[in-house]
């Protein structure tokens, strides 16, 4: 089976002032469809940087990334935006949702960008919100939901338009342990039942329990992969 994600010797250096930080020092990694991969490692080891580059939010200084059949270096910014919209689901640590939109509208937001009809959006939003355990909360605004519920809405949005991969960056960082467990359980369930490919960056040891493949980064390099 060919990989949905292929990282080839990815390097990323940040320059802030006179200090150069080598966030990624040549990372090569393949992820196949249907995998549930955790990306762990101490704070500052480059997890977010790697996810951002895989997700087309940032560009590497060296190496390249392929998502499905597209090498990201070959894409313009606008093509990258389309790729993110159509093929990648994101779940961030916080500020995932648009505060003025209801849960259902947030879930339907990307579908709306894709030009899907109102009816289709509503149906799909309800279905996906049901599947993440938020039946009946369609019309709540983010502020009316708990942190755990908000993250579920973010997950629902990420999977709503059937992306090739879901990238989650510290999705449990702001949650208590019960909500963390529930969210990770949800991701696992989506992975197992719907075959969603998931890469989750987390330094929360719990995340490791739910993922089936563990990639550990240290100082911008892959330290272990099992």
């Amino acid at each position: 089976m060919t990989a949905v994600i292929e990282c080839k010797d990815v390097k990323r250096t940040y320059v802030s002032g006179k200090i150069e930080v080598q966030a990624l020092q040549g990372v090569s990694l393949n992820v196949s469809a249907g995998e549930f991969v955790s990306l762990s490692g101490p704070s500052g080891c480059g997890k977010t940087t790697l996810l951002n580059i895989i997700g087309g939010l940032d560009r590497p200084n060296g190496g390249d990334v392929r998502v499905e059949d597209q090498w990201l270096n070959e894409l313009s910014n606008s093509q990258l935006a389309d790729l993110r919209m159509n093929r990648i689901g994101f779940v961030f640590q916080a500020y995932n949702l648009i505060p003025v939109l209801s849960a259902a509208e947030n879930v339907g937001f990307i579908m709306q960008l894709q030009g899907k009809s109102t009816g289709e959006r509503r149906r799909r939003a309800k279905q996906v919100l049901d599947s993440v355990g938020l039946s009946g909360m369609e019309n709540r605004r983010p502020a009316e939901l708990s942190g755990g519920q908000q993250q579920r809405v973010a997950v629902a949005r990420a999977i709503a338009s059937s992306p090739a991969i879901v990238l989650a960056d510290e999705p449990t960082a702001n949650l208590d342990s019960k909500a963390s467990d529930a969210l990770l359980q949800l991701l696992r369930q989506l992975n197992e039942e719907e075959g969603v490919t998931i890469v989750i960056a987390s330094h929360d040891p719990k995340a490791l329990e739910y993922a089936r493949r563990h990639v550990r980064l240290v100082d911008g390099q892959i330290h272990s992969d099992a």
């Binding site: 951002n52 997700g55 939010l57 940032d58 606008s78 935006a81 389309d82 790729l83 993110r84 919209m85 159509n86 994101f90 961030f92 500020y95 995932n96 648009i98 505060p99 003025v100 939109l101 937001f109 990307i110 709306q112 960008l113």
Partner: protein
């Protein structure tokens, strides 16, 4: 979606938005009401000025305006007479002859302008008949009415005789003896000092006019109707080889004064709008920049920077539309209310009266005064809004999402 998003974003900061709307509304109300007040004062000024003798428009010999000479006259053709007769009743018409003469009483001789008028037509085209302060308006063929200052300078009163000396249409000597029937006061010194009116029939005879006229005056209470009728009449008048001149040509200095006043007012409104827009720009910018992180998230989801910019722009557009609509409503209500009541300018009363106007102004709403200012406000805000929109479009995702 853009509209929903923009609308809801607007009400996230209710108080700030309301404050902005109020600021825009007040500005819009000001730029509706004050120009309406100006329009009202202009039209009352114009009405007053054209009311004395000139009328709204005149049919003249082509050369008459630049050099008002006795010989620059014309015959009223049958076609023209018919067209004038067919004008609606709210347009009044009067024929005139004009001459510059020497008037003499027993003691004095003074140069004056004589209008030969149709006494029965004059009351509906001129305010001279209603401004008679002594005696009566023309009722007999040998009568003359004089401006107040002219009568005083000639040292004549009602019933006195004066002699007239001038040059007739055929270049012969024109002489006549007239009886003073009345004295009028317009408040305009120029008119009161130099103008005299006699019946057109008498004028014809005295100046050997042989039916020639110097002008046909059109006037009435409804300026819009007048404008319309004058436009309709023009082709025929020009076909006759004559000129149809409206008040802007008859009273170019009045027109120029109004234009000057309007221009300086427009500048002041422009400054007001610029000041308000610049002070709002700061608020707009804050409201956008404080959402940097949210915008970064939206970019991450695949929203194109252009769309983000448009969302911000629509938001600003909505805000300005709300404010401007509220302000227009306020301005319209104020204008209509005061348009019926009138605003008394007691301190300016004396000045107004000098120009033959009352001290009460009636604001007048026109489509220009209603829409021009508010439209400029919306445009200025949208223009200002391009800056925050532009800032948002330049956002780099990674940095935006790291922003606090």
């Amino acid at each position: 979606m853009m509209l929903t998003l923009a609308w809801r974003n607007l009400w996230r900061r209710r108080r700030r938005t309301l404050f902005s709307i109020v600021a825009i509304a007040i500005t819009a109300a000001v730029v509706v009401f004050l120009p309406s007040l100006q329009a009202g004062s202009y039209s009352s000024m114009v009405r007053t000025y054209i009311g004395f003798t000139d009328g709204y428009a005149q049919v003249q010999h082509k050369d008459y305006l630049s050099t008002p000479a006795m010989r620059d006259s014309f015959q009223v053709t049958e076609a023209l007479r018919t067209a004038l007769k067919d004008l609606p009743p709210d347009v009044s018409v009067g024929q005139r002859g004009v001459a510059y003469v020497l008037l003499s009483s027993d003691t004095r001789s003074i140069g004056a302008q004589i209008l030969g008028v149709e006494p029965e037509a004059e009351p509906s085209i001129s305010t001279i008949p209603s401004n008679i302060v002594q005696g009566d308006y023309l009722s007999k063929n040998d009568q003359v009415v004089l401006g107040e200052v002219l009568a005083r300078n000639l040292q004549v009163g009602i019933g006195d005789s004066i002699t007239l000396l001038g040059v007739g249409h055929d270049a012969s000597l024109a002489a006549d003896v007239l009886t003073v029937a009345g004295v009028f006061r317009t408040g305009i010194t120029d008119i009161d000092r130099t103008l005299a009116e006699i019946p057109l029939k008498r004028f014809d005879a005295t100046f050997a006019m042989d039916g020639e006229r110097h002008s046909i005056v059109l006037n009435g209470g409804d300026m819009a109707a007048l404008r319309h009728e004058v436009r309709g009449l023009r082709p025929l008048v020009e076909e006759e080889g004559l000129a149809l001149r409206d008040w802007t040509e008859l009273q170019p200095s009045l027109d120029a004064a109004i234009r000057l006043d309007a221009t300086s007012a427009v500048l002041i409104y422009a400054v007001l709008i610029v000041v308000v827009v610049i002070s709002l720009l700061n608020t707009l910018l804050i409201s956008v920049l404080e959402r940097t992180r949210e915008f970064g998230m939206m970019l991450a989801l695949g929203v194109k920077p252009g769309l983000l910019g448009r969302i911000v722009w629509v938001e600003i557009g909505l805000l300005s539309l709300l404010g401007v609509l509220a302000g227009m409503l306020g301005g319209v209500i104020l204008t209509f209310w005061l348009g019926r009541q009138g605003i008394e300018f007691e301190s300016a009363q004396a000045v107004f009266e000098q120009y033959g106007m009352s001290g009460t102004l009636y604001p007048e709403l026109t489509s220009l005064t209603l829409f021009a200012g508010p439209a400029v406000i919306v445009l200025a805000l949208l223009l200002a809004g391009t800056y925050p929109a532009f800032r948002i479009q330049g956002l780099r995702i990674i940095e935006a999402m790291r922003a606090a």
